[in-house]
Symmetry: C2
Subunit: 283 residues, 2 copies
């Protein structure tokens, strides 16, 4: 194997993934925020990275996007107005558009280069971004959220790691603003980092979430191309309890499940049953 | 980073893990079956590979060993006699020795070099191998199992992939012999490969298991250093149903859970709630 043509993402501890690149980058652009790169691979099809960190691959993006969307959306009884923070690739919006109840989605992405690259190279991911129910807003979500009140049923924080442009999204002031933007009965679900490979990031994120929301519960799934192959999201709400193991999703879940590679109703409560070490990190 | 000092395990599709090695190999020995290597790493402590494929790391071995042992053992009401096929590192035996009900464990490992390396370099993994309840048998499990009948309550197949010395363990004749070796109410749990990165191996394994056993169910867990970061095991029995989502483990589970980084009673039924694509692979 030509090692010189391996993409590596390796943590500070010295562990990570390697993907054989099929040729050189097919897209590279430095914005004021970060560098977006796209390459082909046999294993994952097209791959998009930001500042060298894995964001999206065609083959495994479904794990992340199905998990961040369907757990909060099918727990909320009737989600109409949705905010996506980050998520410029469009995968989260694609999953949200499966819901008849959804009237409007605001997607607030700071870096339009991510949107541009996804529209050009990831049509199966970005396919919903031109839908008439979607407003794509290229701006800083930290500013956007400051004056919002009682607007959204579900807020999804589809951000990068707490470095670079994502750092301000791991902040109590930001989360208080997100909470104020929720309608009654609203749910916030952020990505909350890798339980195994980024346990310190995850621990700090849950300390923060527990300061702001009454009900906070981590849920986890495999995510092959993210650090440790294992990822987490948070269920956060003041009004709605996190799903228990015997949570029974309503009939929407059967319809959604038929469109999914991962999600099914019996997984819904199961993903909240986390290992002991994840309980310890997030208590 | 010195890329020349990275350990890589990359699948045929061109995807895998990279671990920064801390120095050169501290152990290397070629047996008639395979090459065992041990090296140090910051991320995982000591790492053991067989023919260049990841077997054990000090930091993440708990995922594999807790999953292969505690799911079948806590589903069986009173497991006394246990067979481990493979498992020469000793991690499976270590977990089995947590059960007061266990009277005897036969561990049948084909390659004594694995046992030697684990005893020397992985004392926290191999610690149970000298226990008086354990017989370590260095021989081919395919031969060993041929004349066994009505001997074991639980059989754990802690094997390598279906290449090299492990290939004969993915075979209907072998599984029929394993089944004959079971006592009434017995359970067999093999490792059944990576659902995402080795989906063809997994599919073939379940076709085989369903030919031999009445009740077959996959269960899954993260496993950071195995291909795709995501692993599976099979629950197989003619007499006992696989745990449902609301499976209530008895009081043994609370005691075992206190010794575990992963296992807890609420996970027990949850790990059987697998993604749609895993259902499709294993139906």
């Amino acid at each position: 194997m030509a090692e010189q043509n391996l993409y590596h993402e390796i943590t500070e501890e010295g562990f990570g993934i390697a993907i054989e690149k099929d040729g050189e980058n097919i897209f590279e652009k430095q914005s004021e925020f970060q560098k977006t790169e796209v390459f082909n691979s046999r294993a994952f099809g097209k791959v998009l990275t930001l500042d060298g960190l894995m964001m999206v691959t065609e083959k495994d993006e479904f794990f992340y996007h199905e998990m961040i969307v369907h757990i909060p959306m099918l727990t909320h009884p009737n989600p109409k107005n949705i905010l996506v923070i980050g998520g410029g690739d469009g995968g989260t919006v694609r999953e949200l558009l499966k819901y008849d109840s959804v009237e409007h989605i605001d997607m607030v992405e700071i870096d339009e280069v991510v949107i541009e690259a996804s529209k050009k190279y990831f049509p199966t991911v970005s396919c919903g971004l031109d839908d008439k129910r979607v407003s794509v807003l290229v701006q800083d979500a930290i500013e956007f959220i400051k004056d919002k009140k009682d607007c959204y049923d579900v807020v999804l924080i589809d951000s990068t790691d707490p470095i670079g442009p994502g750092v301000g999204l791991f902040n109590e002031g930001f989360y208080n603003n997100v909470k104020r933007a929720l309608k009654k009965g609203g749910i916030v679900t952020p990505q909350t980092e890798g339980p195994f490979a980024q346990s310190e990031n995850m621990k700090k994120t849950y300390e923060l979430l527990r300061k702001v929301f009454k009900n906070v519960a981590p849920y986890c799934s495999p995510m092959p191309t993210y650090p440790g192959g294992y990822w987490s999201w948070g269920f956060c709400s003041d009004d709605i309890q996190a799903p228990s193991i015997d949570f029974k999703a309503d009939k929407r879940a059967d319809i959604i499940s038929k469109t999914c590679k991962l999600y099914n109703p019996s997984l819904h409560g199961a993903v909240f049953q986390v290992p002991n070490f994840v309980k310890d990190l997030t208590k």
